[in-house]
Symmetry: C2
Subunit: 695 residues, 2 copies
């Protein structure tokens, strides 16, 4: 529970200052200006009064209890101050001071000291090197932060790794004229994490949507768990910066994180149902719609406009975002005809013409609200001088207040004209999300629709497979570890696959030509013969692989040939496997993602992965729904169903294998890398033809 | 020349009115309010005075000459008014009245009548059903329009098919606090076209960038020619709405155009070097940068920031847009060290820290301006309370005034604070394009870079090929026309290909088995044999195709078999062709685009075209540079160079064939559709293996 942090009943400011623009001065002024509902205790050994408040020489002099202490003193003095907070019984501290883990060894040491004190006294720490928190709740009005934007109460809460970005998002909401619920920027995040804050806001009934800005997570698993719970309850809008290599480097230089492109954050967003954005302005605009509008029940949109072109632009953007234009019922059209002007265009977009007044707007809105074939409403409106735009605005605001179907509005006006401003205010009070541009308005609506799909999506639980011999696989790995191997030999790889029920083309390892022929006879021709020796790593290049051997003579000759040529490598073994050409080559692979576990990769092999990079990643454990998504979201998905007279492949079996690979990785976390390449898929069977495991 | 329209020395308003908000009243007020520099003549048979101006009963009563007449009277009265304008010697008319071609037959008739009068008297017509024009030039100040946004003089001119979109773009520029040069929305465009306006602005030295909004062109060729000239002189920013099928339908319902997705407009943008946008707000933001900043000479960007996260976001967007982070020289780093604070981060992004004052900003800007490894500058700046943001703004504005390298700025501030507003004003006056969001600022800069590439791109002239026998091809087509054929037989198709120097796999048409064997012997085995009969359209399905015939016996048996089985179809012929498997299957095709000519399509055949839709279109005539672009812009371009041990193909030959197809289409405009599928490409040769021509 983070109540003491976000809903403090009293705040002490350690490092309170009389110096204008200093943090210790600004925080006090902000608390006062914002109307903090509890007592503010400035702490300063020298001053007597700051901002008209009595100053305490020490925290311990404060008569009452302190929920939250804000610390803005030089970094070396912070650990002692935190310890004193503990002694006083303070519940949470916000440390604005910088110069900790972001500044090398000495800073890391100081930060550890802080954390140790906090743990000892059961205190929570926000920061260090952070901005702090804001809570606009009229019962609290806590502005424990040194920024200077004063938001109105609202429904959107913002948490940002970067105070700069957090501040600009807060400012953007302010500029849009919509309120904010709570704000947090937690800097070095030595204790309170973004995950915890998101979870806390998930339970905050006053918060309707959460904005998360990050450049990666130090504990992605914790965030994954938190986001999974919260994103089903309310929309979480996420943006991860540092997507490009240069961007990741830029991020690392200001946060001290590792400089590598982290793809897992966006995979976490996807897995947990977070709406992912690449543009902060787009995210803010979408949040405005979430703050006041209901989630649509489907993708059928009705467009009302009083101007031509902007509705065309909106249509393009709506359709591109997955919505489709609703077909109005005959009843709807009849009702429209009763009230609309004869020159109006009664299709969808429904063009009321610039002359449309309140009667026409009310009729149009009523009709779309009542038509069961319409899930949401997109409005494009200019403000002609000759119509009563204020009355029109009232009609639209009233429709929005019904909360029946989401409305998003592109309001094109000149706000230097008084009555247009008045209309704007009415729309705002009615909770109508208004955007000056048709594309932007339309895209905000498509985000509401996307969230309706995310909410409906249940990825389910990972399957647990019967008949899997985990112990056997673990024993094979333990042996390999004992032997100091990092790359497992083919026999181990195939045995592990088989232990997890991953079908492998029939195979046997033999020592000589006679055994090879016997094995090939048993497996059935044609076969592949490969040399097996720990000393030979690039078999193909050494003439150690023979494919499509059609009879015993060919097998014998291949083994004898290798035996002679490669005898200098010591004792050789031979790997005999069924040759299975003609299927569709797939690839299933995996890599470890720092602090998160494994990612599973799936795609088509050969040129598809090499040229088109057409592969899909998911975070383990991968559920059946997710495995299905991996198949269907390939650009080349149609090839799995068969094209140009070619038969499709057994997709259910592929989906099963992806899940088994995920299960394998979860049970054998020591695996650093693995792949099945190719996984050869046929209409009625799927086989691993080659595989690799690195531990 | 459109001077009388855009720079009228006198304006008459036919349909001048005393009624507030009527067009005939608003236009007069707008001219007055905007400070039109010439006389305004209200025409109204009844009123004596309107807006304090003397009213004329008839145009012919006006004492002086009239450059432009604005017409806002009922549609039926317009033709007579236009005729009277002709008699008076008016040079151009703007017709606001609607109810013409957009409203069916009677309207079309009236519009034709107007045009006839105009042609007779040598007058130019803007509209009908249009908003009109605005010219902010202090020497003119013409507001011949009934909208209500009053732009300051500036450098961006806007032309829009839709007045609604034109108005919102004008408003967006106004809201950004930047000026506008000229504005035009020409509605039904019975005479003056968007192409003419763009061409006119191309010669207007006061115009630095042109914004074009359209939903398609009635005369795309005219626009193509105009854009080609202008886009090399100054940036033209274009947006084409109605990209989706629903969008095209929405466009058709308000403009009466054909409801089909028109892909050619964006191909024209591409061919002529117009910057294409899908988002009007994005286009407006980019125009702001073009209005004041020079074009970068390369793609190396230096980032200056005083906050962490926003620079990370900017980096992502800059890199995604094709820019790369400049590596600062050792000299630059040394110079930075002299002035920057020790906690500053002297890489790229160059983080001056929030505490950076005018000395630090000036030093950073100087260093980046002087470093030859930097082509453009991206700034992210917050406005901390404790620094002199006004002084910082002055330094940045001064750097922008140098006009040496483009600067684009993400300015994150609270404009309710007076000194922040002051800083904003200083930046604006210095021509620094400021955007509140890092992504948006960065993308504006990437548009400057994109234009630098478009400006440098010279597609050259289409090649004229020697040795092409156009006459022969025309004769074949003439014969087919005479015979009433629309689909040409294979022999005609191949003969036409050969006449244009498009290599066809060796072939011969024969009548019987003996001739077939002789032909196959001459061509060389293996061969393909196909039955030829106008009565048989689906040869494969009828057993009329035999591939990979390896000797004379096989050819004889195939021909005899078909002769027996298909004898009921009358006299049969047989098409013998060299069998050439194993190459890379390409496809070159073409379709006719309404009023524009042909589009040429190129891609890889088979699954690439069917599943991946990986094809590129260009408008004919296709130059060598464009043909090269068609190859390189395929997603699967790497396959042309060879992958996985497969050899690449003879790209020069493919590029040559694409140009020859383009030449063929230009010379034979009667062709409605053609394709070469497959065009089989090898390392050292390329052959058309099958083709189709529809006339």
């Amino acid at each position: 529970m983070l109540d003491a942090l976000f809903k403090p009943r009293s705040v002490a400011v350690i490092g309170a200052s009389t110096k204008e623009y200093s943090i210790g001065n600004t925080v006090i002024k902000n608390l006062q200006h914002f109307g903090f509902t509890g007592p503010i205790y400035p702490i300063n050994p020298k001053a007597a009064e700051i901002c008209g408040l009595k100053v305490y020489k020490s925290l311990l002099d404060i008569p009452g209890p302190v929920d939250s202490a804000q610390i803005a003193i030089p970094n070396r003095l912070v650990p002692a101050a935190v310890e004193e907070c503990g002694k006083k019984g303070v519940k949470s501290v916000i440390i604005n001071t910088s110069g900790f883990s972001e500044l090398g060894e000495e800073g890391i040491r100081l930060q550890k000291e802080i954390l140790a004190h906090a743990r000892h006294y059961g205190m929570r720490v926000m920061g260090p090197n952070c901005q702090g928190i804001i809570n606009t709740d009229p019962a609290v009005r806590a502005y424990c932060d040194f920024t200077f934007t004063y938001p109105e109460p609202g429904y959107i809460s913002i948490v940002a790794l970067s105070g700069g970005v957090g501040g600009l998002i807060m400012q953007a909401l302010f500029d849009l004229g919509i309120g904010m619920r709570m704000y947090a920027s937690n800097g070095n995040a030595c204790d309170v994490s973004i995950a915890e804050i998101v979870k806390y806001w998930g339970d905050d009934d006053g918060c309707r949507a959460i904005i998360v800005y990050t450049e990666g997570f130090s504990n992605p698993k914790e965030f994954l768990e938190a986001a999974r719970t919260v994103a089903h309850k309310k929309p979480v809008l996420g943006m991860k910066a540092g997507r490009t290599e240069s961007g990741a480097q830029a991020a690392s230089s200001h946060t001290g994180s590792l400089a590598s492109v982290d793809t897992s954050t966006e995979l976490i967003f996807e897995k947990t149902g977070i709406l992912s954005f690449q543009d902060e302005a787009e995210m803010v605009r979408a949040s405005m719609a979430f703050a006041s509008q209901p989630i649509p029940k489907g993708n059928r949109v009705g467009i009302i406009t009083n101007t031509g072109g902007p509705a065309v632009i909106a249509t393009d953007a709506l359709v591109a975002g997955g919505l489709q234009l609703a077909k109005l019922s005959a009843k709807s059209t009849a009702k429209l005809k009763e009230v609309q002007y004869p020159e109006a265009s009664l299709g969808n977009p429904l063009d009321l013409m610039a002359t449309g007044g309140p009667a026409q707007w009310q009729n149009a809105l009523e009709v779309l609200m009542e038509d069961d074939g319409v899930d949401c409403i997109s409005i494009n409106a200019v403000t002609p001088l000759y119509v009563d735009v204020v009355a029109n605005a009232k009609v639209i605001a009233d429709a929005s207040r019904l909360g029946k179907k989401p409305i998003v509005m592109n309001f094109m006006t000149d706000s230097t004209v008084k009555r247009f401003r008045e209309a704007q205010k009415i729309l705002q009070e009615g909770g109508v999300p208004c955007y000056p541009n048709p594309s932007e308005a339309a895209r905000a609506l498509t985000e509401l629709y996307k969230y309706s799909r995310l909410q409906a999506r249940d990825i389910g639980q990972p399957e647990v497979f019967a008949g899997v011999d985990v112990a056997k696989a673990k024993a094979i790995i333990a042996d390999a570890q004992k032997a100091g191997r990092t790359i497992l030999p083919a026999t181990d790889v195939y045995s592990i696959f088989e232990a997890f029920g991953i079908p492998v083309a029939p195979w046997k390892v033999v020592s000589n030509a006679a055994e090879a022929v016997a094995a090939a006879d048993a497996i059935g021709y044609p076969v592949v013969v490969k040399v097996e020796s720990e000393k030979i790593s690039h078999k193909s290049d050494m003439g150690g692989v023979f494919i499509n051997l059609k009879d015993a003579a060919a097998v014998r000759s291949a083994v004898e040939d290798m035996g002679n040529r490669l005898s200098s490598y010591g004792e050789l073994k031979y790997f005999i496997q069924k040759f299975l050409p003609g299927g569709l080559e797939l690839i299933v692979g995996s890599t470890v993602s720092r602090n998160l576990g494994h990612l599973v990769m799936f795609g088509l092999g050969g040129i598809y992965v090499e040229v088109l990079k057409d592969v899909i990643f998911k975070v383990t454990p991968v559920t059946k729904v997710e495995a299905q998504e991996m198949l269907s979201s390939l650009k080349t998905a149609a090839l799995l169903d068969g094209v140009r007279g070619k038969k499709g492949v057994d997709k259910n079996r592929v989906i099963d294998i992806i899940q088994r690979v995920s299960y394998l990785l979860t049970e054998l976390p020591v695996i650093q890398e693995m792949d099945i390449n190719p996984l050869m898929a046929f209409e009625d069977a799927v086989y691993a033809l080659d595989g690799r495991i690195r531990i």
